[in-house]
């Protein structure tokens, strides 16, 4: 079993924090969060993809880090999340991510 934590700096003030727990080649749990650093607030999550309790879904958060939307979506690997974040960045918050 392996617990893998990754922090990917996309920009000076934007990161993806990823946690993947794998047993052999099987992924038991994942959580990939896009965070943005804001001057007055520090780091805050924008969008998070995870499969808590085996349910792949995507969450969006407001400026107070309160959940504002949760939708089911396909399982997301880190590479796919990096690609989405690099393309859409802060616009992700306004998009329908369950369709991506």
């Amino acid at each position: 079993m392996r617990v893998m934590k990754k922090k990917i700096w996309i920009h000076k003030n934007e990161v993806i924090e990823s946690l993947v727990i794998a047993e052999g080649s099987k992924i038991k749990f994942y959580s990939h969060t896009y965070l943005v650093r804001e001057r007055s607030r520090g780091w805050r999550p924008y969008v998070k993809w995870d499969n808590w309790e085996g349910q792949p879904h995507v969450d969006k958060f407001d400026a107070n880090e309160t959940l504002i939307e949760q939708k089911p979506c396909n399982e997301k690997g880190l590479e796919e999340v990096i690609k989405l974040v690099k393309i859409f960045r802060r616009n992700l918050i306004t998009m329908d991510l369950s369709q991506l």
Partner: protein
Amino acid sequence: MYVNIKKIKDPEIVIEEFQDQYGTINSLSQRVSISKCTTKNEMEDLMVWKYLKSGAVFEEEIVLHNSDIFDVLTPKRMELVDYLTKNKASSIRKLSEAVHRNYKNTYDDLLALEKMGLVEFKRSGKSRIPISFVIRVETVFEH
């Protein structure tokens, strides 16, 4: 081009940090069951704790994709990381003496390295002990 930094932290240390922060795994589990998966850090810490308890290996990586890489990874800062991977420093002052630098510059560089996740601080009385779990820094050129 990007820089890939690999860290290895003893699972026992990670579990100790969780105990300091949350008390027991059961109390963290209760907090997560109330908030469900909406509190990112608590949910992730619970999963990490659960699997480390069962003997999982813990690996950490930091990937720097942006062009500001070398603003952070200056030679002087990398010298500090290099020193800390090979030696123990009982305080920031001791570290600054060991690398023949003044306290203020050493302290500022350690804070910058902490922000990027290359250095951590452990409290011991009034002292902050700088530690680094970095084992490899790799520059990757993409074709």
